[in-house]
């Protein structure tokens, strides 16, 4: 056992990378749920985003076009959920599960010719002087742009929900869709926008895995991150900064336990492997003991009678 092999600076830098897919997917789902829609298809939208981004990045040679394509891919797949739940008024839980199964299937179809291909590398940020500062440089100033984009999305979602009229209307729709409708707000239209935003974020998160974290394409490579994102939104009490905290905690323990495994700590691998899930949920359960609760219309079907 050699704990000195673990470099804390690299550990923090890599936990941010490990956390970003989860962060992106969870913050998108947070917006969807704040609008009163429960979309269980996060995993499906992530994996479709992963392959859309991967294939476009490989074909064009540009990772940025790849990320753009992944957002579009996730949003397009979420349109299927829109048609099912907002137009056909189907059950949201069943539709979300179907979306995940469909996404997993179509992504492996799309990705058949991309197995074993190497994607173009995504450049990391390099700011002279700032990136060279010891400790702070590698942790704060030397990541890829998408990681910063993830944090910016969290900040933007938080500010929008808290301070803007759009955010207020979105929360109102999720809180009581009948009252929002009576006041003349377009419940369905607002929800469609939210669902598509959630799809785009999930798609970005998926592409972050296939283009940066792992850089390659394998079937089912999101490996349950979408489900973790769903749980994270609940345990974070629908608060954006807690989503960030939860995602970094999860990413941190994931990276740490890998390091501990490599260092040969005398804890069975199974316990280490389950530790991120257990610790993240435990911490967030304790945090969510305050009285904040789910949006009251979450998962309920809205039908404008008359």
């Amino acid at each position: 056992m050699d704990l000195s092999a673990i470099n804390p600076i690299l550990l923090i830098a890599s936990l941010m990378v490990a956390a970003t897919p989860l962060l992106l997917a969870a913050v998108g789902e947070l917006v969807v749920e704040k609008a009163g829609v429960l979309n269980l298809g996060v995993e499906g939208m992530m994996i479709v985003g992963a392959i859309s981004g991967f294939s476009i990045a490989v074909e064009t040679g540009s990772p940025w076009l790849g990320f753009l394509a992944s957002a579009v891919g996730g949003a397009v797949l979420s349109l299927l959920f829109v048609i099912l739940t907002q137009v056909a008024l189907a059950n949201q839980v069943a539709s979300g599960l179907a979306l995940t199964l469909f996404g997993l299937g179509i992504s492996s179809l799309m990705g058949q010719s991309y197995v074993g291909v190497k994607p173009p590398a995504t450049p990391d940020l390099y700011i002279p002087i700032l990136s060279d500062i010891p400790v702070i440089g590698p942790i704060v100033f030397s990541h890829d742009l998408i990681l910063y984009l993830g944090i910016m999305i969290v900040a933007a979602v938080w500010a929008t929900l808290k301070y803007t009229r759009v955010g207020l209307i979105l929360r109102a729709v999720g809180e009581n869709h009948d009252a929002a409708h009576a006041l003349g707000y377009k419940v369905v239209r607002i929800r469609i926008m939210a669902i598509m935003f959630g799809g785009a974020c999930a798609g970005l998160g998926g592409a972050y895995i296939s283009l940066i974290r792992v850089p390659q394409w394998t079937e089912g490579m999101t490996a349950g991150i979408g489900w973790i994102a769903l749980a994270l939104v609940v345990f974070a009490s629908w608060k954006p900064w807690r989503v960030l905290l939860g995602a970094y905690l999860f990413g941190g323990i994931t990276v740490l336990q890998l390091n501990l495994q490599a260092a040969g700590v005398a804890i069975p691998v199974e316990y280490l492997a389950m530790s991120p899930y257990i610790i993240t949920i435990l911490v967030l359960v304790i945090l969510s003991a305050d009285k904040s609760s789910a949006p009251a219309s979450l998962g309920r079907i809205f039908h404008a009678s008359h």
Partner: protein
């Protein structure tokens, strides 16, 4: 009062199978308080929804200040100075007062300015409100203030109020009327919908009466008796419930020292409740909504268990028994919330009849259901209580609120209860149906049933109950005989006006 603000000409709106409004015409003058009267299903709500732009009329037109007026959506109606206070409050529990009000405005000012304006308007009209409180924590009267202030901030020309007083204490009603009178003196017109004829007589200048979607008359309420107006609404002579003189039997329900925490975050805990009801007696329990009514009903029905000795029925402790066991003993309950609590919305009336009737009506044998008997039971309820529905196979959700209420109450009454607990038995039910429900409750009492009637309608409680008590923040006042009880005394028992004050200007 000579100028016409809004003129409604020949409005017609049909839904599949029913004409909600048929060629309705009337005028609302500037600064007039105009009452819209009618039974459930007479088309009042549809009519105001058309004025507010939520529903488009099939034919007919509206003229606002000489201009054609056809709002495609509420936003347009609001821009033209129409504001509406909804019957079921259109508020968002998790948001604060200021956010709720901002949602009802077209171009709200920044939160800080808005909060200041809310304080200003609320003080001017004697409706104190803290802009930063969460709406879920407010009482029904305070919630209504939020709605009213939301309307007032838009400086409306026409304020539509749909059954505004059904949840208020008498003092709160009085203050609301002062606010409305002040608005009238400022030239605001008010379209006022209510079942309560005495209120309309004191407040309104003109009344338009609707029956089955058609206008059947106009009157000056101050010069018409409540009985005449009721008969115009119903189209026949009204039957007033009669109270037969009766002897009280032994104690049927004895609740002592009942304390139960509330299961929900926004609920009220019951604190040391004592009550005794004898056979043949009706105990009326008043109080502003949200002061423990639901919790009391749940504790009596067995949905929430308590200490075994806290509730005794005919001398036997039943506090630890569940609802089914209590039903078996003859303690039946009808909760307030019709859809989801008293009835399962998506199940048929037969299935709903079976859900509470299986024990006492023998609708099951060894776990197998007797569908035939259940359907007979449902049909008996439908016939006895004049429930308007095509048949017992229709789902509960498809019935109008008043009709479902008749079904829910009828279902319990027909099971020959020994003790009956009802919460808001005539809420949203029209005058004639309410009278027949009250009569059924009195008939039950005359047969020796002990009745606990929880209601927000004080006239109703005065009419049917022998003794009256009020719930205030989970505490029950000592019951007093109903006869000779004054409105002031009742108001005090209910906890006063909850911080309301008279308009300052």
């Amino acid at each position: 009062m000579t100028d016409t603000l809004l003129s409604i000409r020949g409005l017609t709106k049909a839904y599949p199978g029913v004409v909600a409004n048929n060629d309705v015409s009337f005028d609302i003058g500037v600064g007039e308080v105009h009452a819209l009267l009618g039974e459930n299903g007479a088309g009042k709500s549809t009519l105001v929804k058309m004025i507010y732009g939520l529903v488009k009329p099939d034919t007919g037109e509206m003229v606002l200040r000489g201009q054609p007026f056809a709002p495609p959506e509420p936003r347009a109606a609001r821009a033209d100075g129409i504001a509406m206070v909804f019957q079921h409050f259109s508020l968002f529990d998790a948001l604060n007062v200021a956010e709720n009000i901002a949602l009802g405005m077209e171009t709200p000012p920044p939160m800080r300015d808005l909060a200041a304006r809310i304080r200003e308007v609320s003080e001017t009209y004697g409706l104190p409100l803290d802009p930063f409180r969460t709406v879920g924590d407010l009482s029904a009267g305070e919630r209504q203030r939020v709605e009213i202030i939301r309307c007032l901030l838009q400086d409306p020309k026409l304020l539509i109020m749909d059954e505004p007083t059904s949840v208020l204490t008498p003092q709160e009603v009085e203050i609301l009327f002062q606010t409305l009178n002040k608005l009238r003196s400022e030239g605001t017109s008010i379209l006022y919908i209510s079942h309560k004829l005495e209120e309309i007589r004191t407040l309104c200048d003109t009344a338009t009466i609707l029956r089955l979607g058609q206008k059947v008359g106009t009157c000056v309420p101050a010069k018409t008796t409540a009985r005449d107006m009721a008969e115009m609404m119903v189209g026949s002579t009204l039957h007033t419930p009669e109270r037969a003189g009766r002897d009280l039997g032994e104690v049927a329900l004895d609740v002592s020292g009942l304390s139960v925490p509330s299961p929900s975050a926004f609920g009220t805990a019951l604190k040391n409740v004592h009550l005794v009801v004898r056979q043949g007696e009706v105990l009326g329990i008043g109080g502003v909504a949200g002061n423990g009514q639901d919790e009391l009903l749940n504790a009596l029905s067995g949905e929430v268990r308590s200490e075994n000795g806290a509730i005794k029925m005919l001398g036997d402790p039943i506090g630890k028994l569940g609802p089914k066991a209590r039903r078996g003993l003859g303690l039946l309950t009808a909760p307030e919330e019709r859809l989801g609590h008293a009835a399962a919305p998506d199940m048929s009336l037969t299935e709903n009849a079976l859900l509470t009737g299986s024990v006492r009506e023998n609708l099951e044998t060894r776990g197998f259901l007797k569908w035939g008997a259940a359907q007979d039971f449902a049909e008996r309820i439908i016939n006895a209580f004049d429930v308007r529905t095509p048949g017992p196979s229709n789902v509960a959700r498809s019935l109008s609120g008043g009709n479902l209420q008749k079904f829910v109450i009828g279902r319990e009454v027909l099971q020959n209860p020994k003790v009956l607990v009802v919460n808001q038995p005539t809420w949203g039910v029209d005058a004639s149906a309410a009278a027949s429900i009250r009569q059924a409750i009195l008939d039950l009492a005359a047969e020796g049933c002990a009745v606990v009637c929880i209601s927000q309608d004080l006239d109703e409680l005065m009419e049917i109950s022998d003794r009256f008590a009020a719930l205030n923040e989970g505490r029950l006042s000592a019951p007093k005989p109903t006869q000779g009880l004054s409105v002031d005394e009742i108001g005090l028992m209910m906890g006063g006006a909850h911080g309301m004050e008279v308009a300052h200007v």
